[in-house]
Amino acid sequence: MAYLDLIDINKSFSETPVVHDFNLNARQGEFISFLGPSGCGKTTTLRMIAGFELPTSGKINLDNKDLTYTPPNKRNVGMVFQSYALFPNMSVADNIGYGMMVSGKSKAEIKQRVSEMLSLIHMEEFGKRYPSRLSGGQQQRVALARALAIRPHVLLLDEPLSALDAKIRVELRQEIRRIQQQLGITTIYVTHDQEEALSISDRIVVMNEGKIEQIGTSTEIYNFPQTEFVAKFVGQINLLPVVVVNPTEGVVKIGQQVIKAGQFGHLNGNPIRLAVRPEELNHGFIEGANNLYGKVDGISYLGSIVRIRLDIEGHPVSMDVFNERKLAIPSVGDQYQITFPMDACWLI
C-alpha cells in the first residue's frame, strides 16, 4: 500500500463509461502527472480524488484510510482549479486564509499561516489586493497558496497553467515543482501539455479514452513507449511500414533497404511498423548502424530545430536537427542519406 491508492476505479455517466480500470499507487511526496488528450478522463479522475465525483466502482485510499465516500469538505486534499476560482469578494489574504477560517482557527494562527504562504509564493506585498487586480499568473499562485494553506495531504492541480502565456507557463511550472519539493507534498497534476508533464513529474500516467496507456518516469515514457498511442502522443514519431525478414533477430526491410531493430516484441506476421524519433536521425552513413536513403521533400524552420521531411520508399519520414550555423541544409529534391543507432528504433 502506497500513500495514495486508486484501486480499480471505474466511472460512468449514465451508461457512458468515462474512466475504466484505473489503478495507481502514489508514494508520499511524489509528483505525478495525468497526461492525455481532451476527454480522456484525467480531470474526472482528479475530481474523484477530490470528492466532487463518486466512482461507479473501486476504492480510493489515502494513508490506508478509505476515502471513497468521504464528503469533499472532509478529505483535506487541496485543489487548484483551472479557472483559479478565487473568491472575488475577498482579498488575497482572506482567500488564502479561508480554509483555516472555516475550520475555526484563531485569527493569530490564520495571520501567521497566510504570511507564510505569501512568502512561499513570493507575493508578500499582495495581501490586501483583490483578485480582479491580479494578472493570470498571480491569481494562479494565490490559488496554489490557498490550497496549500490548509496543509493538505495531497495537492491536486487541474490544468492550472492552460490559460497562461507560454513564457509564464514555463516559469510557473518550475515554481510549482520547487514548492512541491520544498513541502514534500504528494501531488497529482492534470495536463494535456506533454512538455509540462515531462519536465516536472516524478512519474507520468498517460491516459487515453478513459484508460491508462502507460505509467512511468519521463525517460520511460519518452524513450520506451509501450503502446502506439503513447509513442504518437508523446513527442514526434516516425512510423514506417516494414516487412519482417528475420523474426528472431528483429531484421526487417522497407523496399530493398534492410534495418535491424533494437527492440521488438513477438513478430507474428501482423502489419509491423518501425518506430524512430526524428531527433535520432542524422545525416550520413555509419558502418554497423542502420542506414536509409531517400529524397528530400521539404524543409521547415521551427526556430531552434530544423525539420527535414524525407521520402523513403514512398513513405514520409521527418528528421530533426539543431539549427546550428555550420549546418548544411539540403535542397528539396536532393538524394539524402540518414543513419541511426540500432537501439534508437523499435517495432510496433
Binding site: G51, F52, L54, Y69, P71, P72
Partner: protein, 264 residues
C-alpha cells in the same frame, strides 16, 4: 458529495410560487363562471363580449395600439439604426432617455402632458381627434423602454454595418436600406416589441381615463363598479390576451433561433 435531489426548503418555495400564481387565476376563472346561480356557465363572458361598449372600447384600444406600434417603429427604428451605424457614442444618452419613462411615473407624465398641451398654443384636448393625437404620443412614450430594448437586442444580433455597406455598394439609398434590408432582418425583434407595446396599450388606464377617451382601461373600471361577474370574465380575457402575446413572442423567438442555426 453532490446529491441531485432538491432539498425540502427549495421544494417548499417552488410550490408556494406555483400556488401564488395559480390560485388567484383559478379563483378568477371559477368566479367568472358562476354568474348563473348554482351552475357553471359562460354567461358573464357572453355579456361582456356582446356589450357594444366593450366592443367599441376594445376596438378603440386595439386601433390605438396598432397606431402606437407604427409610430414607435417609425421613430425608434431609424434612430437606433443611425446610432449603431454612425454615433455609437450616443448610446449612453439614448439609454438614459429610454429609462426616463420609468423614472417619471405615468400619472406624473399625464399630469405634465395635460398641463402643457391642453391650453394654448397647442390645445390638444379640445377635440377628440386632437386628444387622440395626444394619447398616441403618450402611449408611444410609455412603451418606449420596451420597444427600444426589443429593437436594440435585434440590432445587436445582425451585422448592421456589413449589411448597410453591402447594400450601399449595390446602389441603395437610405430609405431602401431601411425598409428592404434592415427592417426585414429585424422582423422578430420588432414583432416582440410590437406585442409588448400592444399589451401595454390595451391594458393602459391612466392616459385613457384622464384624457377622457373611450379606451378599454376606463371601461373596465366602470364595469367593475357596476357589476360583479363581468370584471372576473374580463380579467380572464385580459390574461388570455397577455398570454397569447407573450406566447407568440416565445414561439417566434424559438423559431428565430433555429433559423439562425440552420441558416435558412
Amino acid at each position: 458529495m453532490k446529491t441531485k435531489k432538491a432539498n425540502l426548503w427549495a421544494l417548499f418555495w417552488a410550490i408556494l410560487a406555483l400556488l401564488y400564481f395559480f390560485v388567484p387565476l383559478y379563483g378568477t376563472l371559477d368566479f367568472s363562471l358562476r354568474m348563473q346561480r348554482g351552475k357553471l356557465s359562460l354567461m358573464a363572458y357572453k355579456l361582456v363580449l356582446s356589450d357594444p361598449q366593450f366592443l367599441a372600447s376594445f376596438r378603440y384600444s386595439a386601433t390605438m395600439g396598432l397606431i402606437t406600434i407604427i409610430v414607435s417603429v417609425l421613430i425608434f427604428l431609424p434612430t437606433i439604426y443611425w446610432m449603431y451605424l454612425k454615433v455609437p457614442q450616443a448610446r449612453p444618452v439614448v439609454e438614459i432617455i429610454t429609462i426616463l419613462p420609468f423614472i417619471i411615473p405615468v400619472i406624473v407624465f399625464t399630469f405634465g402632458l395635460i398641463r402643457t398641451f391642453s391650453g394654448p398654443p397647442f390645445q390638444l384636448t379640445v377635440t377628440p381627434f386632437r386628444t387622440d393625437i395626444l394619447i398616441t404620443i403618450g402611449y408611444v412614450i410609455i412603451s418606449m423602454p420596451y420597444m427600444y430594448r426589443a429593437i436594440d437586442v435585434g440590432m445587436r444580433s445582425i451585422d448592421v454595418r456589413g449589411l448597410t455597406e453591402a447594400a450601399q455598394s449595390l446602389g441603395s439609398n437610405w430609405l431602401q436600406i431601411l425598409f428592404r434590408v434592415i427592417f426585414p432582418n429585424l422582423r422578430f425583434a420588432i414583432l416582440s416589441g410590437a406585442l409588448i407595446c400592444f399589451a401595454t396599450v390595451i391594458g393602459e388606464l391612466i392616459l385613457g381615463d384622464f384624457l377622457v377617451r373611450p379606451a378599454l382601461g376606463p371601461y373596465m373600471v366602470q364595469v367593475g363598479r357596476d357589476s360583479a361577474y363581468q370584471p372576473a370574465a374580463m380579467a380572464m380575457l385580459s390574461w388570455g390576451l397577455t398570454w397569447i402575446c407573450l406566447g407568440i413572442i416565445q414561439l417566434f423567438g424559438r423559431g428565430n433561433i433555429s433559423r439562425q442555426i440552420t441558416g435558412r
